[in-house]
Structures are given as structure tokens and as C-alpha cells.
């Protein structure tokens, strides 16, 4: 047992591991590729064989691997009878399909891919069949959807393949998602996601109030997968896949997953009214409907596909009956269906392969041209039709037997009639399949002249056909044991053994069967007129409906997205603002406010004047903003008044900073505005303006109220510590500066990095612009002809020459005093840059740039590095980043002065600010030269002293003559 339980996960893993191989082996040739695909399958089959005896003896092989115990999702495997049956089918048929596909696929088809997908699919199916954890089962379940998607869409150049694959994935994927919910509910009722645990909680589950939702959700998964009405429509379209895929997916594996699931969950979910009516009804409808449609399909594969639908319906119905016997019959029929359906698919593939058509109306008389194929197909088809002594007969008989004593919607008769009709239709399409394909006169208009294919292609169907006969003749011997253990696993009843035999005597079932056979033959005889009626009857085309539905959803989604995410940032912001106001208000209303603790400070008249200026300027910006230049000037007024407020309210540092920053900002904006339109067109309709106005006023009022509320209330803050420790611990009397460079130096470090990045960004963007289409726009730039000819006026140049050194000195002063009085590296950097900007404005870009001593880039770099290294320097002393040190020194003849590492840090700030501001303006002003501005070589338009020299020259010339 120990070894066996180790083998189980290995068996499941083998196909997945093997899936890596074909892609690699394809270079070694098609045979090698096929062989190496077969090997893992074969190995898995061998492992299964090793474990089989335990199971056949009534045991269960289990393996438990912890995967995600927190969730209850574990790689727990369990091989019981049902699992053994399915695993055997999956691997056995898989092996045959691998063989068959080797010959079926043409040289143009990427065979490596095919085998990879096939093995992935095989692994997933195998996983489903032996999962002992429903979450694990879900994993494999979804994997089958995915891998079958790849298989169905294998011929990706065919639109039918692509559509079929998408439809299959959509439908089964949707079912799978529903099933996730169902399984989660189930697990929660049972308290575990382990199947073996769940199986023991059947009564509890059925009694739970969540039973019905769980049931419906799980059945959605099973029905979609097994193509039950009304989800049956995807299956026929999956037939666009290569025939080996169809044979595999639609006989033995994929579609049986749903049936498997119902069988697996049977002990837990079955036996209730809900189960009975939902499952058996859906199954019955599917059985009849599938058979009916199959009868009128001309495409061999489509016919088989609908017959599959029909048989799946049959199986579903049986499981739905909820009786152990019915379940046992279902198990038996699963085996039988596998054998004949896989055979038929392969035969259809052979026909297609040989004649290059699958259209039944273009076929006929193939029996003499490809006798072996015909023989195999006839055997399988007769079995499907339920003709003795083949295996299909037996399970059909047993099915009808179950039907005969099932009480359904008020009696047994309704179901007997409907089931018999189903069987009749089934017989009819089976006869049609063989009759219209292989019998009748030989034609001379086959698209391609057919003959029997190579043995390799025939081997697989032939083997299965033999099985069809053998099971029919010796059911107990061949199928009996496995049916026993499998049905025991479904019903949980190990005591009862089914006695599979051909002859049960004259039973109601036999009568129904005879009626069905005769009726079927009669239907086939009437096929031509019926076909005409069928074709002229309007009926809903499921595929069209589905595609229309998807298209509608798609269009609706697109519409929704286009309306909501239409790139209208203005609206996004409006929503943002409104949401903030609403949520903020909602938050507020959950609390209250303490009574005010502070009195109002008086408002001197001058403050009132400043307030008027501020508010009028603000209002004026709103009303006059379309004249951009004017609006910009008005922001200067606001900046001025805000600075005034800072001065009045004891914040000199803020005033300094605000005023200098504003100036640089205005300069930047002016440089940009030069290239932007000078006016903003009036575009918003009035209603929009009113709306925005309302939002804006609401937001303003909210913020004002918020501020007003806290302004009236005291709170004790941490800054007492800063005031107390600024001088002692930080070495400065300007507490704000000490906070900036010491207490919260890390913020400042971040802040200069922001500036540094801004500088870099502007530079990088400018490069991108000047190398992109924007440069074309710029090159076509025309300057207004009436602009002033006064480019670098003499007076300005001279004044700047005097002022710049003074401004630099002021910058130095502001830098040095910052630690103790308002000022510091940041303002100093701005003052320096304003001094330089003055020079740029006076003497022009070209001349000034030529005299530049420092690279702005490197200035930023050095700034950030100096600040960083100053901070890191503390590590040398074993102290944390940015720990400062300071001391007071006296070097005659200087005054006593203070040196603090914080000043070095501030130097970093200074350098970064200077570098960033200059790099920004430098980058921006490069635009002008692209727009055709010349580079000036002289500092002023015309040095008046040259007038004198020029005159002298003229005089010299005159003298010379």
C-alpha cells in the first residue's frame, strides 16, 4: 500500500512531465515524437495496472501531499473503482489516440504541439479521476477546459476551429466557475474539501440549507462539461478539431468528466427530489434532442457529436434516477459508449482522411472500397444502435429496464415513451451512419479515391471494435469486475454485484428495444421526407444565439468602457472630487466635534485688505482664466498674498520660500506659455460650467469648514520636543530649519530627490520631444513679425552685471544663516538660480550658456550624493542615517562660527535645487532654438561703444582713400 500510494501522484504527474517531451522530440522525427508521447502514457498505464489489483479487491489507494493546507487544498489522491475505470479509459484510449494521430496528422501539422496538448489534457483528466480533494479536482477540471481549448483550436488557421475552441472554453469555463462556488459551499458544509470526508457527510449536506445552491452550481459545471441541454451546443462545434481530438475528447474523456463528476458526487448529492428532477429531466431532454439532431446531420463527425450529446444525456438521466442500479447501468454504459464511440470517431476520421469529405450525402458504397474500415464501423454503429449481441445492446436494455420502473412527472408512462423515442432516433441515426456511408452504390465522385488506410491507423479502431464484440459476448468476464468496483464506488454499496448478461428474458425493456429498433429502421426509411421537413423547420441555431449573446455582451462592455473610461480626465476628476466630498461627509457624520477651545484672533484692517486681494485675484483667475497671461499674473498676486499671510502668521521661512518658488514657477510657465496657445477657448457648455462650479464650491466649502473646525480647537503636538531640542540637539535656533535638515532630514532628502528627478524628467522629455514629431512643429514655428527688436537691452545687461554678484552674495548669506535664522539651502539655491536666470534673461541663452562653469546635471548629481553621503557618514560613527553632529569653532580673524553636518546636508540641498532649476529652464529654453531663435554671441544687442569704434573705422577708411 505504501508503494502504491506513492505511485498515484506519480501517475498523475507523468503526462504533465511527459508533455514537455514532444516539443523537444519533434526534431527527432514524427515517430520518435509519437513514441515519446506514448511512453509516459504507457508508464502511467503500467502504474495504474500495478495499483489496480488493490482496487479490484475492494481497496482504495490513497496518497496525501500537503499543498495549501491553509485553504484545505491538498494534493490528495484516491484511486477507487470509479477512478480506476476512468483512469483506465483515459490512459487506454489515450494510447490508442496517440497511435492513431501519428498517422492521421499531416506533415504540415505541428505534431509536437499536438502531443503536448494531448498529454496535458490527459494529465488533467487523470487528475480529475483520482482527486481526493474537490479543490484539487477543480484545478484539474479547469485544466481540462484549457487543454481541450488548445486541442480544439489546434488547427488555428481554421475559423471553425478557433470559434469552436472559444465556445467550448467559454461554456465549460463558465460552468467551471459556477462549480467553484458549488464546491466551496460543499466543502464548507462538510467542513473539509477532501472528497473522502465529503462523501461521508452526505446526509448532512443534503439536509443543509445550502444544498440546493451547491447542487445547482455543481450541476452547472457538470452539465456544461457534459454538453447537457441547454449547454449542448458547444460540443458539435468542437468537432472542428482534428479527429483524434474528437475521438478522445468526445468519447472517453472530456465530456465524460461531467458524468464522472455526477457519479463522484452521487453519494452526496443524489437521492433528493431536486437531484432527481433536475438531473434526470435534463438528461432525458438531452438524450432525445441529441438523437433527433444527430439524425439530420450530414457531417459524419457532427452526427457522432450529437449522438455523443444524446448518450451523455442518457448517462445523466441514469445518474439522475438516483437508484444504485441505474448508477450501475450508467457505469456500464460509460464503458460501452467509450468503445463504440471512439471507434466510430476514428472511422469517421479515416473516411474523411481517405475521401476528403465527411459529408454523408457525398458518401456511400465505401464498404467495398475500404472493407476493413467498414466492418469496424458497422460493428461499432450497431452496438451504438443497441443491436445484440454487442455491448451497446446490453447497456441500452438495462437503461430501458430502469426507465420502465421510474416514476417521473406523475407516472412511468411519460418517461417510457420519451425514452423509447430517444432510442428509436438513436437507432435511426446509427443505421444512417453506416447505411449512407458504407452501403449503397459505389460512387465515382468522391473528392479523393478511398481505400483502407495503413494498419497503424486501423489498429486502434479495430482493437476497440473487438472490445465491442467481446464485451457483448462476455460481459461478466470482461466488464463485470470493473463495473462492480466502479459502481460500488459510485453507490457506496459494495455488497451488490451486477450480473451482466445478454439475455434477460422478455422484459418491458426488450419490448421497448424492439419497438425502438423497428421504429428506427422506419424513420431511416422516411429519412428523405423527414429531412426536408427538418430543413424547412425554423429552429434556434444555438451557435448563432451564443455568438450573438457574446457579441452583445462584448459590445455592451465596449460601450460601457467607452462611456466610463473615455479619457475624459475632467470627468474623472469631477467624480473624484464629488466622491471625496460625499465620503468625507459620511465619515464626519459618524463622529462629532469637541467644543471650541480657542478664541478667534483679531483681523486687523490690513489683513482684511490682503484677504480682499487674495479673494479677488482668485475670483479673477476663475473668470479671466481664458487669457492665460493675465491669469498667470494673477497667480503672482495670490503668491504674494499667501506669502504675506505667512509673514503675518509667524512663518518667515515659508514666506521666503513661497516667494522665490513662485518666481521660478512663473518663469517656467512663461517659457512654456510662449509655445502654448495664449488663450483658452470657451468650450464647456454653461451647464458643465455650472456643474463644475457647484462641485468646486462644495469642495471649497468642505475644506474651509474642515480647516475652520480644527483652527478653533487645540491639540497638544509633538513639536514641543522640537522647540526644546532644536538648539541643544540640533545646533540651530531656526527650529524650522533644524526640523528640515535634522529632525526630519529624511523628508528633505526625499524632497531634493523629487527635485532632482524633476530636473532629469524635464531633460529627458525635452530630448524626446526634440527628437520626435514635436521638433517638426517647432521647426515650422513662426515668430510674430511685430515683436520687439530689443533682444538684449543694454540697460538690463548692465544692471544685471551689477546685480548678479550681489544676488550671489545674498544667496551665500541666506545659505549660511539658514540654520539659525530664516533661510537655508533651498532658498539659497533658488536665489542663486534666480541670479543666474536674470543673467540668462539679460544676455541671452547662448552667451550665458557659454560662460557656464558647472554642468547642471552634475550639480544635481553632486547634490543628491552629497546629501546622501552626509547622511551615510553617520554610519562611520555607528549612528543611524542622517544623524548630525555640530560644533562651534573659532579661527582668527573670523567670528566664532558653527559647523554642522546638517550644513553639509543643506549644501546638498542647495546644489540639487540650483542644478534642478537650471536644468529645467535650460531644457525648456532649448525649444526656442529649435523654433529658429539664433544663438547670440554678444551679451547685448549693440554695445554703444562700438558705435564710436565703427565711426572711427569709417573715418580710417575715408582717410585711407
Amino acid at each position: 500500500m505504501v508503494s502504491a500510494s506513492g505511485l498515484l501522484p506519480v501517475m498523475v504527474l507523468l503526462p504533465f512531465i511527459g508533455a514537455l517531451v514532444p516539443g523537444l522530440m519533434i526534431r527527432a522525427g514524427r515517430n520518435a515524437c509519437a513514441t515519446f508521447t506514448a511512453i509516459p502514457t504507457l508508464l502511467a498505464l503500467i502504474l495504474l495496472g500495478v495499483m489496480a489489483p488493490d482496487v479490484m479487491n475492494g481497496g482504495t489507494v490513497t496518497a496525501r501531499i500537503d499543498w495549501l493546507p491553509g485553504l484545505g487544498l491538498n494534493a490528495n489522491f484516491m484511486l477507487d473503482g470509479l477512478g480506476l475505470l476512468f483512469a483506465g479509459m483515459i490512459l487506454g484510449v489515450g494510447l490508442l489516440i496517440i497511435l492513431y494521430a501519428r498517422f492521421y496528422l499531416s506533415g504540415d501539422d505541428p505534431m509536437g504541439q499536438f502531443y503536448t496538448y494531448l498529454l496535458l489534457f490527459q494529465g488533467a483528466m487523470l487528475g480529475i479521476s483520482v482527486s481526493d480533494n474537490i479543490l484539487l479536482l477543480l484545478v484539474f477540471w479547469e485544466l481540462t477546459s484549457l487543454s481541450s481549448f488548445l486541442l480544439i483550436g489546434y488547427w488555428k488557421h481554421l475559423p471553425e476551429g478557433r470559434q469552436g475552441a472559444r465556445m467550448a472554453l467559454t461554456v465549460t469555463g463558465a460552468g467551471g466557475l459556477a462549480m467553484i462556488a458549488g464546491m466551496l459551499i460543499l466543502g464548507n458544509i462538510a467542513g473539509s474539501y477532501d472528497l473522502s470526508v465529503i462523501l461521508q457527510h452526505g446526509d448532512e449536506i443534503r439536509a443543509s440549507e445550502y444544498y440546493l445552491p451547491a447542487l445547482i452550481l455543481i450541476l452547472l459545471g457538470a452539465f456544461t462539461k457534459s454538453a447537457q441541454f441547454p449547454f449542448h451546443f458547444w460540443l458539435p462545434h468542437a468537432m472542428a478539431a482534428p479527429t483524434p481530438v474528437s475521438a478522445y475528447l468526445h468519447s472517453a474523456t472530456m465530456v465524460k468528466a461531467g458524468v464522472f463528476l455526477m457519479a463522484r458526487m452521487w453519494p452526496v448529492l443524489a437521492g433528493t427530489e431536486a437531484w432527481f428532477y433536475i438531473v434526470s429531466t435534463v438528461g432525458l431532454i438531452t438524450m432525445v434532442l441529441g438523437a433527433l439532431i444527430a439524425l439530420f446531420k450530414d457531417d459524419l463527425k457532427a452526427l457522432l457529436a450529437f449522438s455523443t450529446v444524446s448518450h451523455l444525456g442518457l448517462l445523466t438521466m441514469l445518474l439522475g434516477f438516483g437508484t444504485p442500479m441505474a448508477a450501475t447501468v450508467a457505469v456500464f454504459h460509460i464503458i460501452n459508449h467509450l468503445t463504440f464511440k471512439a471507434t466510430l470517431f476514428m472511422c469517421a476520421g479515416i473516411v474523411d482522411h481517405e475521401t476528403h469529405t465527411r459529408d454523408i450525402k457525398r458518401l456511400g458504397g465505401l464498404a467495398s472500397l475500404m472493407p476493413i474500415t467498414a466492418l469496424i464501423a458497422v460493428v461499432a454503429a450497431l452496438s451504438m444502435a443497441g443491436i445484440p449481441p454487442l455491448n451497446g445492446f446490453m447497456s441500452k436494455e438495462m437503461m430501458l429496464e430502469e426507465v420502465a420502473h421510474t416514476h417521473w412527472w406523475g407516472g412511468t408512462w411519460p418517461i417510457i415513451i420519451v425514452a423509447t423515442v430517444g432510442a428509436m432516433l438513436s437507432v435511426a441515426y446509427c443505421f444512417r451512419f453506416i447505411g449512407h456511408t458504407f452501403f449503397g452504390p459505389v460512387r465515382d465522385d468522391y473528392p479523393h479515391h478511398p481505400h483502407d488506410p495503413p494498419a497503424g491507423m486501423l489498429a486502434a479502431p479495430a482493437f476497440l471494435a473487438v472490445m465491442v464484440v467481446a464485451i457483448g459476448l462476455f460481459p461478466s468476464l470482461i466488464a463485470g469486475p470493473i463495473v462492480d468496483v466502479a459502481s460500488a464506488a459510485v453507490t457506496g454499496d459494495t455488497a451488490e454485484h451486477v450480473h451482466l448478461k445478454l439475455w434477460h428474458g422478455v422484459t418491458p425493456a426488450l419490448i421497448m428495444s424492439i419497438v425502438a429498433t423497428l421504429g428506427g429502421a422506419f424513420l431511416l426509411w422516411l429519412h428523405r421526407p423527414l429531412d426536408r421537413v427538418w430543413l424547412s423547420t425554423p429552429r434556434p441555431e444555438a451557435k448563432a444565439i451564443f455568438e450573438r449573446l457574446v457579441a452583445v455582451v462584448e459590445r455592451a462592455s465596449l460601450r460601457f468602457t467607452e462611456i466610463t473610461h473615455n479619457g475624459a480626465i475632467s470627468r474623472y476628476l469631477a467624480i473624484f472630487t464629488v466622491a471625496t466630498i460625499v465620503l468625507g461627509f459620511a465619515a464626519y457624520s459618524g463622529g462629532g466635534m469637541a467644543p471650541p477651545t480657542r478664541g478667534l484672533l483679531p483681523v486687523p484692517p490690513l489683513v482684511a485688505v490682503g484677504f480682499v486681494l487674495l479673494m479677488v485675484a482668485t475670483a479673477a483667475i476663475v473668470t479671466m482664466h481664458r487669457n492665460r497671461f493675465r491669469a498667470l499674473m494673477l497667480t503672482s498676486v495670490i503668491g504674494l498674498m499667501v506669502s504675506a499671510g505667512f509673514v503675518y502668521l509667524s512663518a518667515p521661512d515659508l514666506a521666503l520660500t513661497q516667494i522665490t518658488v513662485d518666481t521660478v514657477t512663473v518663469l517656467l510657465m512663461l517659457v512654456a506659455l510662449h509655445f502654448l496657445p495664449k488663450d483658452t477657448p470657451s468650450e464647456s457648455p454653461t451647464i458643465l460650467k455650472v456643474r463644475d462650479g457647484a462641485i468646486a464650491v462644495a469642495a471649497g466649502a468642505a475644506v474651509a469648514l474642515l480647516a475652520y473646525s480644527f483652527l478653533l480647537r487645540d491639540v497638544s503636538t509633538i513639536s514641543d520636543y522640537h522647540l526644546a531640542n532644536s538648539y541643544k540637539g540640533g545646533g540651530g535656533t531656526n527650529v524650522v530649519n533644524v526640523i528640515l535638515v535634522d529632525f526630519r532630514g529624511y523628508d528633505t532628502y526625499g524632497e531634493i530627490i523629487v527635485l532632482g528627478i524633476a530636473g532629469l524628467t524635464l531633460y529627458a522629455l525635452m530630448e524626446a520631444l526634440l527628437n520626435g514629431p514635436a521638433s517638426r512643429t517647432l521647426r515650422n514655428w513662426t515668430f510674430p513679425p511685430d515683436r520687439s527688436q530689443d533682444r538684449h537691452p543694454v540697460m538690463m545687461v548692465v544692471a544685471t552685471r551689477v546685480m548678479m554678484p550681489i544676488a550671489v552674495l545674498v544667496g551665500v548669506y541666506i545659505f549660511l544663516r539658514g540654520h539659525n535664522l530664516p533661510g537655508g539651502g533651498f532658498v539659497a539655491g533658488l536665489v542663486m538660480s534666480i541670479a543666474l536666470l536674470m543673467q540668462y534673461m539679460a544676455s541671452g541663452f547662448g552667451w550665458t550658456q557659454e560662460r557656464k562653469r558647472f554642468e547642471y546635471h552634475s550639480m544635481i548629481g553632486w547634490g543628491v550624493v552629497v546629501a546622501g553621503l552626509t547622511g551615510a557618514g553617520a554610519w562611520l560613527a555607528g549612528a543611524p542615517f542622517l544623524t548630525s553632529a555640530f560644533g562651534y569653532f573659532t579661527i582668527p580673524p573670523f567670528e566664532e562660527f558653527e559647523l554642522a553636518t546638517a550644513m553639509l546636508f543643506d549644501l546638498g540641498v542647495f546644489l540639487t535645487v540650483l542644478g534642478a532649476v537650471m536644468l529645467m529652464l535650460y531644457s525648456l529654453s532649448r525649444l526656442a532654438r529649435y523654433a529658429g531663435e539664433t544663438v547670440n554671441l554678444e551679451p547685448m544687442d549693440y554695445d554703444p561703444s562700438r558705435r564710436f569704434e565703427a565711426a572711427a573705422e569709417v573715418n580710417d577708411k575715408k582717410d585711407g582713400h
Partner: protein, 115 residues
């Protein structure tokens, strides 16, 4: 005074928001500028208002205004300066490349996908 400050904040916020809801980059930039004035004053006000008590230590002063919000505002001013600069230039770049300075993406539905 408190009322004056609160109203100023409110006025600046309202104007700022009205402008950032406009359709062109330049008024939006102006709006952002006004908004950052508003937020700076707001944060500043969180230290409450004081007249004539600058937080520079002197021997004769008995009380100081709260220095911490001032430091925060300084940081915020610098950051918003950098941000404004980047905003202005991106707006300019977008204008030069697009030929207009609209902030909203125009409806230029390019071709239909064929899924």
C-alpha cells in the same frame, strides 16, 4: 483671523478645483497651482495660527508658533514645485505633439478589432 484663513483656503480650493475641471492643460495647471496654495496653507494652519511668534529661538521670546507644520509645508512647496514643473513640461510636450492642449483624450477610435 481663523475665518479669514479658512475662507482663503476654501476659496483657493474652489477656484483650483474649478480650473482643474477645465478642458485645456493651461487652466488645469493654474488649477493645480491654486490647489497647492490651498493645501499648503491648510497644512500650515494645522499648527494653528499665531501672530508675531516666529519659531526662531530667541532669549526674550516666551512662546513660539508650531514649527512642525511649517517644515512640512516647506517640503510640500518644494515638491509641488517639482511636480508643477513636470506637469508644465508634459503639457507642453503633449501640445507640441498633439497640436492642441486638450487634457481629454479625443475620440479617435482607431479601427475596429475583429475578434
Amino acid at each position: 483671523m481663523e475665518l479669514v484663513v479658512a475662507t482663503s483656503i476654501g476659496g483657493l480650493t474652489a477656484a483650483g478645483i474649478y480650473l482643474i475641471l477645465r478642458l485645456r492643460a493651461f487652466p488645469v495647471i493654474l488649477g493645480v497651482t491654486l490647489l497647492s496654495y490651498a493645501t499648503n496653507v491648510f497644512v500650515f494652519a494645522s499648527g494653528r495660527l499665531a501672530v508675531g511668534l516666529p519659531p526662531v529661538l530667541t532669549d526674550d521670546a516666551t512662546a513660539y508658533t508650531d514649527p512642525l507644520p511649517q517644515a512640512l509645508v516647506l517640503t510640500a512647496i518644494v515638491i509641488s514645485f517639482g511636480m508643477t514643473a513636470v506637469l508644465v513640461l508634459i503639457a507642453l510636450g503633449a501640445f507640441l505633439e498633439n497640436g492642441n492642449d486638450r487634457v481629454n483624450v479625443e475620440d479617435e477610435r482607431a479601427g475596429e478589432g475583429d475578434a
